[in-house]
Each structure stands twice: as structure tokens, then as C-alpha cells.
């Protein structure tokens, strides 16, 4: 943080997203929000609470339970010159809108020979860990990160939750913002004057010399917590927050690995065919001769997420698992 403590305030990730939406609505009258329960109910995760009162039903639009329909409507509105924010309650339901996102939004610019760009922003809650069982706990951001033609963001910090939305709205192409639902209640510092942030670079969130942990979203904080614990054992962990999952800012994590010579990817997605696999491959391609240990991955166990609390915790990447894995990788350190 470059701002002094005097000009900082604390707010939750949820409030930061809400502020971002409000700012966008005030700054640009083409911006509107639509999705299931975003209006009268105030949003499934209470992100849009109070916005209906402030902006009215024209701009805060409740939709039927019809993801394909309202996502398609959002794409159409974007083509028509609007700047829609489409909220898909959770990434799980994006499967119903996948055709609109992948087969329409992502390709129109290309297939129209550059005539039609689609400046839609789609917000989706993602992640597990809240005992909402297999159908509501997936992390599908890695799937969308596979698709050319869209950008995929994963704001982890309050600052990014506050700042990425505006930059995404200004982007001429479709942008998906995956908000890990475990983060909405997280409180963090935010500069009073905080505003838009870039959406194309990863950030080193903690400096270290022994190993690089590459992560994003809610897992970032597990990595940072593990780094604290490992520091007491003399293991200095560097933590990279990807922030943007497509396009990947590989320069940042390759440079980090070149310094630390070890890499661990912590990803709430499943391991097979995952974003973690992609990052691992890029490290192999770009930093092979800097590696002092095989690249490791800590991902969610390859099971449908269990409902039972202890089983769900066991399935997801956890701090203790990160600590143990890092110790094994760094081994005999010191």
C-alpha cells in the first residue's frame, strides 16, 4: 500500500464491489445491472443492496431464472451501445449461459470481421467452502480462462474488488469477473481515493526468496497465511496473486520463480486440465533452467464438493496443506 494509514478506511469486499457498481452507474449512464435477485432482494450475496432504491428499476433489473436469456440480453445490450453488468448468481449457473458467453460474446468481434465488439461485464460468484454442496461450490473460472475472446478476472483484495470493475467496463471486449463468495465478508483496508486498477498484471503480494506460491482469489489468503507460518521456520515464501486469469501475466510469475527457483500453484479448481496445469506448463517452458524442484500443485480433490463440513474442508486446499507441501519442497532449508 502506498497510501498512508490516515487516508485508509476499512470496508468489506462486498461493500467494495457495491461501491464499484455505484461509481460506474454514476459515471456512465449506459451502465446498468441485471441478474437474479439483484433488485428487490439486494443480491444473493447482498452486493447490490440499496441500489434499486438509488438507481431505480430501469437500471437495476431483476431477471427471471433464465441465465441463457438474460446473459444473451446483456450481450445484445452491449452490442447496442450499453455497458451492462450481468450478474450470474454463481459460476455454477454460468453453465446455462455458457453458449451465450463462449459461442456468442467471445466470438462476435472475430466473426464480424472486427465490426462488433461486446463490452459486457459478467460478474459471477465462485468457489466452495460454504457448505452449499456440489452444485453450488465449483470453481469454473479455469474453464473460462481457456476461451480466447474474453478476459477473466479474479479480484482477491478489497482494492481489486473496488477497482477492477470500472476498468472491465471500459474494456471493449467481454470481461468475466469471478468473485470468490468466501471473500464478500472479508474486511480490508482501502485508500479513500481508491479507484480503477489495471486488469492485466499479476502482483507479488509478499516477497520471499525460497519458493513462489502462485494463487488467486480466496486461495491467495490461504497462501499468505501459510507464508506467515513458514516464515517462523525461516522459509521465506513469495506469493504471487494472478489477479487476471486470462490473459495470464506469465512474466510476473516467471520472474518470481527465477528468483526463488521453486513454485507451488494453489488453485481451488480441480487439478486435471486446470489453470494450475497451464501455469505449471508455462513455468516449465519459461523457467526450466531456474527450477530447483519440480513444480507442485495444490488443488481441490477431484470429487464433487461434499456437503459435510469436515469433508468439504478436506477436499479444498487448506493452509496446513500448503505449509506441509512447502516444507517438503524446500526441505533441509537453512
Amino acid at each position: 500500500m502506498t497510501t498512508t494509514a490516515g487516508t485508509m478506511r476499512k470496508l468489506t469486499y462486498r461493500e467494495a464491489v457495491r461501491e464499484a457498481i455505484r461509481e460506474a452507474m454514476h459515471k456512465d449512464e449506459r451502465v446498468f445491472l441485471m441478474g437474479e435477485d439483484v433488485g428487490r432482494y439486494g443480491g444473493c450475496f447482498a452486493v447490490s443492496k440499496g441500489l434499486l432504491e438509488e438507481f431505480g428499476p430501469e437500471r437495476i433489473r431483476d431477471t427471471p431464472l433464465a441465465e441463457s436469456g438474460f446473459t444473451g440480453a446483456g450481450i445484445g445490450a452491449a452490442l447496442g451501445g450499453m455497458r451492462p453488468i450481468v450478474e450470474i448468481m454463481t459460476g455454477n449457473f454460468s453453465l446455462l449461459a455458457a453458449d451465450q458467453i463462449i459461442n456468442t460474446a467471445a466470438v462476435l468481434l472475430h466473426m464480424s470481421g472486427g465490426q462488433f465488439n461486446v463490452p459486457v461485464v459478467i460478474r459471477l460468484a465462485t468457489g466452495g467452502g460454504r457448505q452449499v454442496a456440489a452444485q453450488h461450490s465449483r470453481s469454473l473460472e479455469g474453464w473460462f480462462a481457456h476461451i480466447p475472446g474474453i478476459k477473466v478476472l479474479a479480484p482477491a483484495t478489497v482494492n481489486d474488488a473496488r477497482g477492477m470493475l470500472w476498468t472491465a467496463l471500459e474494456d471493449p471486449d467481454p470481461v468475466l469477473i469471478f468473485e470468490n463468495s468466501n471473500l464478500y465478508n472479508m474486511e480490508g483496508p482501502l485508500a479513500v481515493e481508491a479507484g480503477a486498477v489495471d486488469i492485466d498484471r499479476a502482483r507479488v503480494r509478499r516477497d520471499g526468496r525460497d519458493i513462489t506460491i502462485i494463487s488467486y482469489g480466496a486461495s491467495l489468503f490461504k497462501a499468505l497465511e501459510a507464508a506467515e507460518i513458514l516464515a517462523k521456520d525461516g522459509i521465506e515464501v513469495e506469493v504471487v496473486d494472478l489477479r487476471t486469469l486470462r490473459p495470464l501475466d506469465e512474466a510476473t510469475f516467471l520472474a518470481s520463480v527465477a528468483r526463488t527457483h521453486r513454485a507451488l500453484v494453489v488453485d481451488e479448481g480441480w487439478r486435471s486440465g486446470s489453470l494450475a496445469a497451464e501455469i505449471s506448463a508455462r513455468i516449465m517452458e519459461g523457467a526450466f533452467y531456474d527450477l530447483d524442484a519440480p513444480v507442485a500443485r495444490l488443488c481441490t480433490a477431484e470429487v464433487p464438493l461434499p456437503y459435510a463440513k469436515h469433508l468439504e474442508e478436506a477436499a479444498l486446499p487448506q493452509v496446513a496443506g500448503i505449509v506441509a507441501l512447502v516444507k517438503k519442497m524446500v526441505g533441509g532449508h537453512g
Partner: protein
């Protein structure tokens, strides 16, 4: 028993693939027999054995790629007692890029790729396992940069993997001299590798060769106080004789002008033996055999300097055949290990490209390099008469530690004399 190991056939050689065994277990072998073919990044090389004996066991299978120093086979010899004096009779170490061939049956050679001195030999004692050394890519790079032999480093990682920390804690390879003063020409402390040369993967042949040349030449210019002498030589007599001889021959049997030049160098070296040998252990070690390393540019870049063995004892025809054979094999594979390691002096001829004068850099531990430029028609005054003659500038780059300019001048004078009396070539 002696171990027959994967030899180092050049400064850039880190590993080699055993292509073929030419013997089987139980076969009797004689010194200098070619018993195996090894593929390096440069070429397929025929590997000779340096001991009489019986093949006890073939350890490595054809097709296997193993690091330099890996035991390829075990040779049952007459006994250690017989082997030692034999070793001492052998010429001392190779051409700066190679281990002492006499000991190649009994030495392990460090396998670090970027090491400026490849010929770090350690005693034959317990050989490292033929298995691939497990080391992280970063550890391999560090070891290469520091000239450390991975097989000498402890691996503290999972399953004994060598990691960066093990390299950091490693020591520079100790130079253990087999036998007597006939040690390999090694510097005790590996010189730092130029940063630019540090990174590329060993697989990259061109980079590897460049690195090897860089290391040898950097060492040469760092350690060898060169002096240079040049002499313009009238080649009309030699060329006239050659022309007359070639007229009688079918094209394929004709002799190239460089052949009498090589022969003249070999004969002139006989009169200036202080230029034929190695500077090792702070003293000059003359070599009886005159083996002329001839610089051959490779099509893919880089160069190789295989030796024309005993050039002074061969006729022009024999030399021509040997040179043709050497060039063909250098470019297509099939050089013998002794040819890569036994040059006692180097000749480099760049006249093809129009160069007039060659200022050579000596290939350590040799002490001299003879350079030939282009043969050009020049005005030439002799006995008060002006004529046009084919003229060649011959240069000598010599190690001032081993000889002085006076000796060098005598060599060039002798060279000129032989070229004026081509019937003696």
C-alpha cells in the same frame, strides 16, 4: 581390471550416446583398437581402447546416452603393473579440449558442460554408477557455471536429488593427477565462465561449441603470452611441382596446395621441436610425434581440429588421403578419439576466403599455431629482377613461455626452405 569410460572428446562434450559396440564380452582387444562408436553433439566418433586385454563386460547398451566418465565396459588387462609404464609412454595430454588418451581407459572425466577445462581427471578408483545423475535443472546450471562435477556432489533432495544448495556447498573439482608428471593439462581452478556463455542448454550444439571455443580461447589469451611472426613465401616452386604432378592424375587423386604446406610445417617442426608439444605444469613438454591439428570449419558453425597423425612421416599422397578422410569424417561423423585428442600443434588455413594474413590464437596446451592466408599473385623482386609470383603469407603464433622469437624465426625460415625445395616434401 580397467574401466573403459565415456571419454571427453572436446571441451563442449558433456555426454555421449553409445551407438555401437564393435566388440563383445570375451573378445581380445589390443591398444588402439577401435572398440566402440560414440555419438557426440559433433559427430560419431570411433573410440579406441588404450590397453591390451580381454573385454570382461559391456556395461552400457547401444543407444544409451551417458555422461562423460561413465564406465562403458570393463577390460581385463595383464594387470595394473603392466598398465602403468604403458601409460607413461603415451604422449601427454590432449589438445586442451580432451583428456589424456593414454589414461582414458582409467579416468573419470568431469561432466560439467561449461567448464573451461574439460580434462579434469580423477583416479580410476570406484567409478560412479552408470545411472543418470539426478539433479534439478537449476543445480545443473549452477554446477556448469561453476565448473563442478555433479557426480562429486552430495544430493540431499528427495531420493538423493542434487539441488542448488548442494552445488553451493560443493567444492571445486580437485585435480588428481594419474600417474606421474604426465598429468592432463588442467588448471587447478576453473576459470569463470563468461556470463554470456553461461545460460544455454547443453543440447544446443552451436551454443555448446561456441562455449567450448570461448573457454579455450579465453584461456589462451589469458594465459599464453603470444608472439607473432610473419613471412611472405614464394610458392612458385611448390605449386609448379604440384601442378606437374596433378596433371598426371585423375581429378579425385589430385593434391591440394594445403597438403605440401602441412608437410612443410611438419618437417620444419622437426627442426624446431620446441614448437611441437604442450605447456603443462609450468614447463614445456615436447612431443615426439608431430600430429598436426587441422582446423576444419563445420557447416553448422564452429570448428573442430582433428589431427593428422605423424604428418612428418607421411608422403603427400598419404597426407592428402588422410586430410580428405578427416574432413569427410569431421563433417559426417566417424572421427577417432585419438584424432581429437592428440594434436601437438595447429594449422589453420583461411586462404579460401581471401584472407591474406592469419593471426592465430593458440589452442592450449599447445604452444604454436601456424596460419596460412591466401596464395596471391604478387610482384616479387629476386636477384634484381621483378616477377609475378604466387605468394603466401605464413604466420606463426607461438607461446613465448616455450620459445623465443629467434626460435620462431628459425621455424619460419625452415618452412620457407622446404617450400623452395618441394622435391623434399
Amino acid at each position: 581390471m580397467a574401466d573403459f569410460c565415456m571419454p571427453s572428446l572436446g571441451a563442449d562434450m558433456q555426454e555421449g550416446t553409445l551407438v555401437e559396440w564393435l566388440v563383445k564380452a570375451g573378445d581380445e582387444v589390443k591398444r588402439r583398437d577401435v572398440i566402440a562408436v560414440v555419438e557426440t553433439d559433433k559427430a560419431a566418433i570411433e573410440i579406441e581402447v588404450y590397453e591390451d586385454g580381454v573385454v570382461e563386460e559391456l556395461v552400457v547398451e547401444p543407444g544409451q546416452k551417458v555422461p562423460v566418465g561413465t564406465v562403458l565396459a570393463v577390460i581385463r588387462s595383464e594387470g595394473e603393473a603392466a598398465a602403468s609404464p604403458q601409460q607413461r609412454r603415451e604422449p601427454a595430454a590432449g589438445t586442451g579440449g580432451a583428456p589424456v588418451p593414454a589414461e582414458s581407459a582409467a579416468i573419470k572425466v568431469a561432466a560439467a558442460p561449461a567448464k573451461p577445462e574439460p580434462a579434469v581427471s580423477v583416479p580410476s578408483a570406484p567409478g560412479p554408477a552408470a545411472a543418470r545423475i539426478k539433479a534439478s535443472p537449476y543445480a545443473r546450471r549452477l554446477a556448469a557455471e561453476r565448473g563442478l562435477d555433479l557426480s562429486q556432489l552430495p544430493g540431499t533432495g528427495p531420493g538423493g536429488v542434487i539441488r542448488a544448495a548442494d552445488v553451493a556447498g560443493g567444492v571445486a573439482p580437485q585435480v588428481l593427477r594419474p600417474g606421474t608428471e604426465q598429468a592432463a593439462p588442467v588448471v587447478a581452478e576453473p576459470a569463470p565462465v563468461p556470463p554470456a556463455a553461461a545460460a544455454p542448454p547443453a543440447k544446443d550444439f552451436q551454443a555448446g561449441m561456441r562455449r567450448a571455443i570461448a573457454a579455450a580461447m579465453a584461456r589462451s589469451n589469458r594465459e599464453i603470452p603470444h608472439y607473432y611472426l610473419g613471412l611472405r613465401i614464394d610458392l612458385s616452386r611448390t605449386l609448379r611441382r604440384l601442378e606437374a604432378e596433378n596433371l598426371k592424375r585423375p581429378i579425385r587423386e589430385r593434391i591440394l596446395p594445403v597438403v605440401p604446406l602441412i608437410k612443410a610445417v611438419a618437417l620444419a617442426l622437426g627442426e624446431a621441436p620446441e614448437l611441437n608439444g604442450y605447456w603443462v605444469d609450468d614447463r614445456f613438454q615436447p612431443q615426439e610425434a608431430i600430429n598436426i591439428g587441422f582446423a576444419i570449419a563445420l557447416r553448422q558453425g564452429g570448428l573442430i581440429t582433428p589431427a593428422l597423425l605423424n604428418a612428418d612421416l607421411q608422403s603427400l599422397d598419404e597426407l592428402m588421403a588422410a586430410l580428405r578422410d578427416l574432413i569427410t569424417r569431421a563433417r559426417s561423423g566417424g572421427l577417432r578419439s585419438s584424432e581429437l585428442t592428440e594434436a601437438t600443434v595447429t594449422v589453420t588455413s583461411l586462404g579460401d576466403l581471401g584472407v591474406e594474413t592469419v593471426y592465430g590464437v593458440i589452442y592450449p596446451p599447445q604452444v604454436a599455431l601456424v596460419g596460412f592466408g591466401r596464395i596471391m599473385e604478387q610482384p616479387w623482386a629476386e636477384n634484381g629482377m621483378l616477377a609475378v609470383r604466387p605468394v603466401l603469407t605464413a604466420t606463426l603464433a607461438a607461446d613465448h613461455r616455450a620459445t623465443d622469437g629467434h626460435r620462431g624465426a628459425q621455424f619460419l625460415d625452415a618452412l620457407n626452405r622446404y617450400l623452395q625445395e618441394p622435391e623434399k616434401l
